[in-house]
Symmetry: C2
């Protein structure tokens, strides 16, 4: 009990500051994003690498975890080697039963204690940042610095953001009150009332291959802090980053006096497909999912006993109307397309350009000229192999390679994708982005998502038509990001209106060091329920309020000599 | 534009106070609940009655409402006469199209303006309280004072409560921010960001026969304030209270410069069943429903394009363990059973009593003795015809009468239901409550809801078994209320734990002027998603956050001479 109090007291200032940041939306992060020895300690990088290497080829142990036996290794690094890690095997029924058994004490602990435990878990995840970065790099293919940031500190930001919303919303209401209603005759009617936040039930996290932590932490922490046990079902190709996370969470829970089975790992063998079984288990009441539209739709259709939060696929769109910084535009966009080989759910796919060209500080640029210039910008960005490797990372799985092959025939290729030799990892699978030209009529091609380094330059009749295509395709097929370039306030206003109609967040005139595919926790919203690409926003109040309910009890005020009503 | 500002300015203090009340949960209401001339004006009662009577037998006009022709009269008073009111006919497609066309200006108006308009609507509904009370009385069968309170001021409270949550949650985030991220080299990265609350889409309110306003206003106002147009689909037997509400809403919207079609009335002829068609319309994105479990489940299953908030049926349960005020207990419970002839979704149905009896200040009472004493308390309460009429009201429809007939054979009747002559309305259908005895094994009988004046005294092996039956039946079948009587703190604690497990709000030891079937806005929650009886709580943050999303736009900060990134 004293330990529980400790974690909340230890992190209360952090929690208050985090809640304030969710409100003000200013820049804020408690987790330094630089993988620097001066911040994290001289030996931190090496210790992290050693911990990662020591795990390779070995069983991953979780003390006191339910289940029996081991799931055979399923992970191989996009940089060219097998991880060979086996994980505890647990059946869906075993996982759910253990999760339910752990719940009552967690419910009764209250939101402060739960938020304190969550903040401590995040603090220890941060301290294990180099180990987790190695695990992220060698399951997702992200380059190391990106794995440390997007898979590490930025994921921690997103986790803490969810903790803040979950904590604040549970404390929206007073915990207790003496209710006193004046009467025309006699004293007031008086009741003592108590209000208790109660979790909805067992929560299931179905994580993805590319961003297991960044997309996984919000649901994990939102559910945990609102009083629910969480079963973590990682993608078979990206288990290790979440296994380390689960181990840390269980350690902190046990130290705080709780059953560590509040956080469970449900690894699965290749093609076992336990996600569907878990998601439709009658006692699973919350599902968080990041992945394909097909399985996301299936979950929304079939996991009827649960509230389901999804992030699926969409058509990220850029409308090009005019610019006074053509060079900045090209450099910024080239980086957005190349970063992690376009394997972000936020990478632009459809670039809409007026057929007659758009005005720039270097003259009018036709769609073909723009496509060629963008190709050149990509060549320049990726010319140096070391730099290219750092930007591109590696290709996460064969599905992306297959799509790249298909994309070669989908439009008129302006810049083909090419294999790149990684300077440090000879076995790595590295590809540069493909650029192709399409017309506004090629809807069959550009209204599908081509997840990976595939981008289309599409000519339209005018900016007005571009905005219409943007509005209609995103409204129908969804998007996680959108951008516009224009020097006209009228066009920017029209683009903002179109984005509100389409239900997507909009970036305008990005030419410098901010990219459309980046979103900063505590300030930028990621995803929106207003278009089909997502059934949740990371994070906002709606992301947490469905995970718990407030129950009350009330009784007459007892006064000396009897009951005062 | 000046008008819009006016309504917000006029009501800002009220809105601030309302938000504070939702947080503190203390007693608060801006709408005086006494139907008194000194509060509402000397001629208010008469003007209300005249307005009601003038409407009888006539078409109900709504200026500028879409559609064509009239829906034939469907309403008859439980007090014995036909209302004969016809309403504008509008098809689902016409209603949805008009609602959508009205939306953009409402979206762009922002939460302050919308909350101000809503508060003004409620203020005018309050001013029309006597007219609406007549309409409620003669559609639901509630006695006049109850119709004025539960159908009037308390419904207004629930409406304002929803406005407060909707307004506060939309303003959780800053409307705009200058985001500034320090860089190791050079000046900070800076972006100007704007955040806009955007409604989910067309909202549908499917209202019920017994509490069209009390159960209807929360969804109506929550949706409206979060930027959504609302189509009101009343129960064919209780149209008028909501028609008057819609007329007032449209008047205020027009005065504020908005399209009145933001609030529409979709009346239907007998057995037209347009609710299903409307609820599955692809552009209907929010559904609020109060009514039968069967149709509530159907909506949750089929209205997949919408977020669905339901209040259905359940097994309201009382656990009797011990009391030091047996007389107070009997009087309180008798009133709860008799109020509005038990036609409240909150009326107790299952009273669980240990087989060997329970301790009271008047000795141990066996289940049979308790049932007999409760029957006597009902006789006493309803002995005077005028008082009986004021408590019981009238039977809302034939379904309740049918169930009363069936209930006569369902258990061992202790106190049969009887017809009562109404002193003022000779044609009124008035019935007293039926009390029957059951055993713990009679699950088939008591795990169904017997909506109306039907209550079972059920003997159990012990209070422990009572709590188990309570926990399991409510967890499985749902409940909107629960109560316990005990002089033991241990039993009360066990009951609180069982109520948290079952997911229901709990009232303890009510023996005075507060009744289990009453819940006060701003302090008591009504319903909970934690058991099957409801998919919503009136009201809490979860009730409003699913109705809108926050969309952002961001652009680099423009400084003198160029862009500062």
């Amino acid at each position: 009990m004293s330990q529980r109090t400790d974690f909340f007291t230890r992190h209360q200032e952090l929690l208050d500051r985090a809640v304030e940041a969710t409100r003000s939306r200013d820049h804020w992060s408690p987790y330094p994003e630089s993988p620097s020895k001066s911040v994290y300690g001289e030996d931190a990088p090496e210790r992290g690498e050693q911990a990662f290497k020591a795990q390779l080829g070995n069983p991953f142990t979780l003390e006191g975890h339910p289940g029996d036996g081991w799931v055979p290794a399923t992970e191989s690094s996009p940089y060219g080697f097998e991880l060979g890690v086996t994980y505890p095997r647990v059946t869906p029924d075993e996982a759910v039963a253990a999760a339910k058994a752990a719940t009552p004490a967690w419910r009764n602990a209250g939101p402060d204690t739960r938020a304190g435990v969550a903040a401590e878990i995040l603090s220890r995840i941060n301290a294990a940042g180099f180990e987790i970065a190695q695990a992220v790099q060698h399951t997702t293919g992200q380059a190391f610095v990106m794995a440390f940031q997007a898979g590490g500190t930025h994921a921690q930001d997103r986790g803490l953001e969810a903790v803040a919303y979950a904590w604040a919303e549970q404390k929206y209401h007073a915990g207790s009150v003496r209710w006193s209603k004046p009467q025309r005759k006699g004293g007031p009617l008086e009741l003592d009332k108590r209000f208790t936040a109660v979790g909805r039930g067992v929560s299931l996290l179905i994580a993805c291959n590319t961003f297991p932590t960044w997309n996984g932490y919000p649901g994990l922490f939102a559910s945990l802090v609102t009083g629910n046990p969480v079963i973590v079902k990682p993608h078979p190709r990206a288990v290790l980053p979440l296994a380390v996370t689960v181990r840390i969470a269980r350690e902190v829970l046990a130290e705080a006096g709780f059953d560590p089975n509040l956080v469970l790992l449900a690894a699965e063998g290749q093609d076992e497909r336990t996600a569907a079984t878990l998601a439709t288990h009658p006692d699973v009441r919350i599902v968080d999912f990041t992945g394909s539209t097909a399985f996301g739709d299936w979950l929304e259709e079939h996991a009827r006993q649960a509230v389901v939060y999804t992030e699926k696929a969409g058509l990220n769109t850029v409308v090009l109307d005019s610019t006074d910084d053509y060079r900045g535009l090209l450099g910024n966009l080239a980086f957005s397309l190349a970063l992690y080989s376009g394997q972000m759910c936020t990478t632009p796919q459809n670039l809409l350009v007026p057929r007659d060209g758009f005005a720039t500080d270097q003259g009018v640029k036709t769609p073909d000229e723009f496509a060629a210039d963008l190709g050149t910008a990509l060549d320049k960005l990726l010319g140096d192999p070391q730099r290219a490797a750092g930007v591109l990372g590696a290709i996460v799985n064969d599905g992306v390679l297959r799509r790249l092959d298909e994309a070669g025939a989908a439009g008129r290729t302006v810049r083909p994708s090419a294999a790149v030799d990684h300077p440090d990892h000879p076995g790595a699978t590295v590809r540069t982005p493909l650029l192709a030209r399409l017309g506004a009529d090629d809807t069959e091609v550009y209204t599908s998502e081509w997840f990976g380094p595939v981008t289309f330059v599409i000519d339209t009749a005018s900016t007005e038509e571009s905005l219409n295509i943007f509005r209609e395709t995103v409204r129908r097929h969804g998007a996680l990001t959108a951008a516009v370039h224009s020097t006209s306030e009228d066009v920017l206003a029209a683009a903002e209106e179109a984005a509100l109609d389409a239900g997507v967040h909009l970036s305008e005139n990005l030419t410098g060091g901010i990219f459309v595919n980046q979103s900063a926790a505590f300030s930028d919203f990621h995803g929106s329920v207003a278009n089909p690409a997502a059934g949740a926003t990371l994070s906002d109040p709606a992301f947490v309020t469905g995970r718990f309910t407030t129950l009350q009890s009330r009784r007459p005020v007892v006064v000396a000599g009897g009951v005062d009503v």
